[in-house]
């Protein structure tokens, strides 16, 4: 081929004889292209271009180069850049051409600039004046070029300079200028939305422009604006409908027809706008039914572009408020798409089905055979889209078939992006709908080995979390774990060198945790298998750490093996490994220590944590004595660092009014007014969130030391314990018979497909019990997945409950469970566990909180039985109070408690003979729950035994003297806010504290505007509802502080922002801000 070109090109000079000058110029490019085509290797090309570039460099710097030559050089430079070579020395000349040249030079110059430079390039500044000049030019072409370059590349901060000129162009007599101006403004809007806010009215004018072309351009803007906030443009629905009606009705000039379809691109744009406007809005949707119907009807001509319109129509019909008649037509359209022999239409049909299937599962059923055919289609894109569709229709009955199809696809797929995407979906489906343990484990094995290290980290994390936390009964969890252990042992016995690291990590964690469940397997065998892995070269050092942690966990009693291993690793290059080997050795030699550090099975909560690190006191004092600098916490260091820079960084110090006022100017700045510190804290939040999301890894790799010091308390909250109070029904197992396994039968292929169809689409039918929409409601989920961040601790709250008699409970643990459980309010079991802390903490204080009103308001002796029930035995029963006096019950509070702030007395429940009421008292260090038991009968009740089942606290059994048992259920769940206490600090202290806190959350809340001072009213309302302390209110900002019973503070910074209250919360606790925020929202909503 190259010699043909050569022949061609050598023939060229003859043609140019008459015009030597021009020929010479253009010849250079020809020469270049010709020589490039002659070359055979990339290397030669590189050399040639390098020569060419240096020649060009010489030429551009020569003063004799004419403008024409310059133009030609520019084109050559573009060519070189296109091939990927750097021609940056020409950039400045491109700008020069645009600045100085005539029209032709300008054109090349502008083109080169828009190809070479990006928005942030500094040279663009040199262009601004030229653009300004050209925008003002009376020459149409110059103005056009300037507008074009403005829309392609323009520095953001220079927009204000050209904005007025571009705006003026909106009323230019020439249609093409107006149109380009509209698009340039749209571009400005995308880059810097607030700079064009004031010209929204002009956008409307553009929409009403007499030229349909300008109107079309303005739709770009409206599509974007409406996508951002559909509500603000509802009033324009009528206009858009009218425009579409006119277009569809053929009112536009014939020029706008494309293949005799009137302005198809305009129609597409309008349909998109309408669907955005009509989404979830019945009245707006009603306006457009007619025109949608018309579009559907008119678009039945047969050109590609009509299908584009139809597709948009169908999507619009399914997006807006449904109308049966239209839906029916749209469904028919989808059918036509799906059944079309045109592959592009089939693709769109599948896309439409995927979109629609959530509304109308029947449609998928109708086209099941086509879908099956698409599954085996030769086109990769079609296959992928089909799987996407299947993903949407998966239910508990067809999950095995669909997942199998997906895995088949994945095995032959080599596109990284697709693999990541799809593997995540398989994992999601497996978790949601797994029919049984072995299938689940097997599928996850496939996921890990196929997805490998491309997998997103949350897939293995979720899986391990699921294994660790379990869901329902302990036996079932153990069964699942057992399956996993068995399956992994089998995998490890085979070839392991090809396994992805992530899979190895999962396996080692599971084996470390649960290998002991499998009694039939010798632990030595497990150790041997894991040790083998360590010897493999392909295993990364991160994985080695996982494996070693696993070994540490199962090493008990196998001292000989372990010592060998520790010996061999103690010379490892990797310091982490070496440290672990040391730990391993120590632990294996001291079984008591091992038992204490790594207790097997459930009782994680038994771990005693010396969070004050007192055992290091000796070391510290020695070091101090030896002259070491005392430890400073990070925030203190940060503060000092800031002080060094001689800036006043105390946000709420004496300079407060100043900083606050400037703060409100700069809007959304940190109250510290310090981008440095806010940036830092932002980072730390991110970090800690990251750490939060990877808690599982930390669990697995028993890290003892971390950034913040000794870590094991973390583990105390995280490890697997099943929730003792889990009230969820075990899922009804899907009968295996229901699923028809697709076993290919070569003779009857069609029947085969039918079978596949029936297994794929099972559960989708009308008569089927499973409703597709009901993904959320219907299918009993195999693995109940708990809300992410809270799960580990909500289970730990259960365990801490069990150990409530243990005197050494870490207070941190308590807070955690409070926090998390309060976030989980909809889950009764968990929220009650928060409540449980009351008995614990009060009994620890030696105070009885269960009082019998009949009992002379005298404190009872309460006993804790079995750790989870409190029995109160009143000695005598004397007075009688009719149940109606419950309002006076507070008067009956014991004297020492009377002065405490308390909630209203709430009547919990009653039956003919007894009534129960409760009242919460807020003590600084505890929440007291006082339960009033009133006798409603005339007879004296003797010997009332109150049995309070703390675990669930749903039922309280009362045993009367007669021996009959009354079971009264406590319908009322105590509020979690009960554990919040005001934190009294000064503004200055607040400022210091603010800096030191890392976890922050920001949100806008409702402002109570009904009073004169909305901020004060709102804060007072919050104060009353949540027991907060309002530290200070300055102007439009207020600062509020509170703390948990256990001491964790939470600081709230509020600022009036229009009609909303911008609230910024900070706390050392990751979840506390969210929790407080939630309660603030509730309190304000109730107000």
């Amino acid at each position: 081929m190259s010699d043909v070109v050569e022949k061609t090109l050598t023939a060229l000079p003859g043609l140019f004889d008459s015009q030597t000058g021009a020929a010479k110029i253009t010849n250079r490019l020809r020469q270049l292209i010709k020589s490039i085509t002659e070359l055979t290797s990339k290397h030669e090309e590189e050399n040639l271009i390098k020569q060419e570039l240096s020649a060009m460099k010489e030429q551009v710097s020569s003063p004799n180069t004419t403008m024409k030559q310059m133009r030609e050089i520019m084109v050559r430079a573009m060519y070189c850049e296109m091939l990927g070579y750097d021609a940056s020395f020409t950039y400045i000349h491109a700008i020069k051409l645009a600045q100085q040249g005539g029209l032709l030079e300008k054109r090349v110059g502008y083109l080169a600039v828009s190809l070479f430079l990006n928005e942030g390039h500094e040279l663009l500044l040199l262009l601004v004046n030229t653009v300004l000049k050209d925008l003002q030019s009376t020459n149409l072409i110059e103005a056009c070029m300037a507008l074009t370059v403005v829309a392609q590349v323009f520095p953001k901060d220079m927009i204000p300079a050209v904005l007025p000129l571009v705006e003026d162009k909106l009323s230019h007599p020439k249609e093409i200028i107006r149109r380009k101006a509209v698009l340039a403004l749209y571009k400005f809007y995308l880059i810097a939305p607030n700079q064009v806010q004031h010209i929204h009215a002009k956008f409307r004018k553009a929409l009403c422009d007499k030229d349909p072309g300008v109107m079309t351009s303005s739709l770009h803007i409206y599509l974007q604006l409406i996508r951002e906030s559909p509500d603000s443009y509802k009033d324009m629905t009528g206009s858009f409908v009218t425009i579409l009606k006119q277009v569809v009705g053929g009112k536009l000039p014939l020029d706008f027809n494309y293949h005799s379809v009137p302005a198809p691109w305009l129609q597409i744009q309008l349909l998109r706008i309408l669907s955005l406007l009509g989404k979830e809005d019945q009245s707006t949707s009603e306006l457009m039914y007619e025109v949608l119907d018309e579009s559907l009807r008119r678009a039945e001509m047969n050109h590609n572009i009509t299908y584009a319109i139809l597709y948009e129509c169908v999507k619009a019909v399914y997006t807006i408020h449904p109308k049966a008649e239209l839906l029916e037509k749209a469904a028919r359209c989808i059918g036509n798409f799906v059944l079309s022999p045109k592959i592009n239409l089939k693709y769109l049909g599948l896309k439409a089905l995927t979109y629609v299937v959530q509304h109308d599962a029947k449609l998928a059923l109708q086209h099941q055979m086509t879908i099956i055919e698409c599954l085996d289609h030769s086109d990769f894109t079609i296959k992928r889209e089909t799987l996407e569709l299947l993903f949407r229709i998966t239910n508990a009955q067809n999950v095995t078939v669909i997942v199998e199809k997906m895995l088949d696809f994945l095995r032959i797929c080599n596109d990284e992006h697709t693999i990541i995407h799809l593997v995540g979906k398989v994992a999601e489906l497996a978790e949601k709908f797994a029919p049984d343990n072995s299938w689940f484990i097997q599928t996850m094995n496939d996921v890990f080995s196929i997805g490998g290290d491309l997998l997103q980290q949350d897939v293995p994390n979720n899986f391990l979390r699921l294994l660790a936390e379990g869901s329902e009964s302990k036996e079932e969890d153990d069964q699942l774990r057992l399956y996993a252990v068995d399956s992994y042992l089998t995998v490890l016995k085979g070839h392991t060198s090809h396994l992805p690291q992530c899979f190895l990590q999962v396996m080692s964690w599971v084996l470390g945790e649960y290998a002991h469940l499998q009694e039939s397997v010798d632990q030595r065998e497990v150790i041997r298998l894991l040790t083998q892995l360590l010897d493999q070269r392909s295993v990364s050092s991160e994985t080695r750490v996982w494996i070693l942690s696993a070994l540490t966990k199962i090493s008990e009693g196998q001292t000989d093996l372990i010592l060998d291993l520790a010996e061999s690793l103690s010379s490892s290059q990797d310091t982490v490994l070496r440290q672990q080997a040391q730990e391993l050795r120590h632990l294996s030699q001291d079984s008591q220590l091992h038992e204490w550090a790594l207790p097997r099975g459930a009782p994680w909560d038994g771990i005693e944590v010396d969070s004050s690190l007192s055992f290091l006191d000796g070391f510290v004092s020695e070091a101090l004595a030896a002259g070491a600098a005392p430890y400073k916490p990070p925030h203190q260091r940060q503060e000092e660092l800031c002080e060094d820079r001689a800036l006043n960084l105390e946000p709420y110090g004496f300079s407060l009014p100043v900083s606050l006022s400037s703060c409100s100017i700069t809007d959304r700045q940190s109250p510290t007014l310090l981008s440095v510190s806010s940036g830092l804290s932002g980072n730390s939040t991110e970090l800690s969130q990251k750490a939060g999301s990877s808690t599982l890894i930390l669990e697995g790799v028993k890290r003892v030391w971390g950034k913040d010091g000794y870590l094991p308390q973390k583990e105390a909250t995280a490890p697997p314990v099943d929730e003792p109070s889990a009230a969820v029904q075990p899922p009804s197992q899907q009968e295996a018979a229901e699923r028809i396994e697709p076993r290919p039968d070569p003779s009857t292929q069609n029947q085969d497909k039918q079978q596949l169809a029936s297994s794929l689409f099972v559960g989708l039918g009308v008569g089927s019990s499973m409703s597709l929409l009901g993904k959320s409601e219907a299918p009993p989920l195999r693995f109940r997945k708990k809300p992410r961040p809270h799960e580990s601790s909500s289970s730990s709250s259960g365990t801490s409950e069990r150990s409530s008699d243990s005197s050494s409970r870490s207070s941190r643990n308590t807070t955690d469970s409070f926090l998390y459980s309060s976030l989980l309010e909809e889950e009764p079991a968990a929220s009650i566990s928060a409540f449980d802390h009351t008995p614990k903490s009060t009994t620890a204080n030696g105070l009885a909180q269960n009082k019998d009103t009949k009992e002379d308001r005298r404190a009872n002796t309460s006993q804790i039985l079995g750790g989870d029930m409190v029995i109160v035995r009143p000695s005598t029963i004397q007075d009688k109070h009719p149940p109606s006096v419950s309002s006076d019950l507070t008067a009956l509070l014991p004297a020492d408690l009377k002065d405490l702030p308390h909630s209203d007395v709430i009547s919990l429940t009653s039956d003919p003979s007894l009534s129960l009421s409760s009242c919460r008292l807020f003590r600084d260090e505890a929440l007291l729950l006082v339960i009033f038991i009133s006798n409603c009968t005339e007879t004296v009740i003797k010997d009332v035994a109150v049995q309070l089942t703390c675990e669930e606290l749903k039922t309280v059994s009362l045993r009367g003297s007669v021996g009959s048992v009354h079971s009264l259920s406590l319908g009322h769940c105590p509020q979690q806010t009960s554990s919040v206490r005001p934190l009294v600090v000064t503004t200055e202290e607040y400022g210091k504290l603010w800096l030191s806190l890392s976890h922050d959350v920001k949100q806008n809340l409702k402002l109570l505007t009904d009073a004169g001072d909305p901020l004060r009213t709102t804060l007072n309302a919050l104060k009353d509802a949540l027991q907060l302390h309002v530290v200070d209110i300055i102007g439009s900002e207020g600062i509020v502080a509170c703390r948990l019973l256990s001491g964790a503070p939470c600081l709230l910074h509020c600022r009036v922002n229009g009609t909303a209250l911008a609230m910024w919360l900070r706390s050392p606790h990751p979840a506390l801000p969210d929790c407080i925020l939630y309660h603030c929202q509730r309190a304000l909503a109730h107000h």
């Binding site: 081929m1 070109v5 061609t8 060229l12 140019f16 021009a22 020929a23 253009t26 292209i33 084109v75 573009m78 850049e81 296109m82 990927g84 032709l104 054109r107 090349v108 083109l111 990006n118 928005e119 942030g120 074009t148 829309a151 392609q152 093409i176 149109r179 698009l183 571009k187 351009s217 770009h220 599509l223 996508r227 020029d255 706008f256 494309y258 198809p264 691109w265 998109r272 039945e300 047969n302 050109h303 590609n304 572009i305 584009a308 597709y311 948009e312 036509n336 079309s340 022999p341 592959i343 592009n344 239409l345 030769s378 086109d379 990769f380 894109t381 079609i382 990284e416 992006h417 697709t418």
Partner: protein, 192 residues
């Protein structure tokens, strides 16, 4: 938004590259290579859409392409563009090229890269579809060409030269961008 327009030949040689979103130079080359790799291995009878290349921004993006004889025209767009709409826009663009260059072929694109850019500028401006009407586009381009002619007629020479080249007998180069495809409108789809 259109993120990029790439034209390359069957061997992956770029013929026209236009990015509407900033990518570093080496990234651009990588995108071209990867796109060529993705597109070139697809048969002509599969659909014209490709989803989720990892380079240009993930799953929201798709490649919409057409293959004419020796050239691939690839538009990389986000989800706010209509697939079939872009497919026809490519057709409009190619038909316009055909009209401006009188039977366009790959050589025209090589030797008149700048002109092709000017035409493209009238179709897509800063990533947004500006004009879809071929006559309008041609009118705009001609307006600019008149200005060129008024500069002395020198620059018309290369065009003449190229058409001379084209008329020469060069059997081995597939010279035309499949004129048949361009002149014959997209075959109509089977009726509903």
């Amino acid at each position: 938004m259109i993120k990029a327009i790439l034209i390359f030949n069957n061997h992956g040689k770029p013929r026209l590259i236009r990015f509407y979103q900033y990518f570093a130079e080496d990234m651009q080359q990588q995108i071209i290579r990867e796109t060529f790799h993705l597109v070139s291995k697809r048969d002509d009878n599969v659909c014209n859409f490709l989803e989720g290349g990892s380079l240009i921004g993930g799953s929201d993006y798709k490649l919409i392409y057409r293959h004419y004889a020796t050239l691939y025209f690839v538009f990389c767009v986000d989800s706010s563009e209509s697939e079939l709409g872009i497919l026809d826009l490519i057709q409009v663009f190619v038909e316009t090229l055909d009209k401006c260059f009188e039977n366009v072929c790959e050589l025209d694109l090589i030797f008149h890269m700048d002109k092709v850019h000017y035409i493209l500028q009238e179709v897509v401006m800063g990533g947004m579809v500006l004009e879809t009407n071929m006559n309008e586009i041609v009118a705009q381009v001609e307006l600019q060409n008149r200005m060129e002619k008024s500069e002395g007629g020198l620059s018309t020479a290369p065009a003449r030269a190229v058409s001379a080249v084209k008329n020469m007998n060069l059997p081995e180069i597939p010279r035309n961008i499949n004129i048949g495809d361009i002149n014959i409108k997209v075959p109509s789809l089977s009726p509903f």
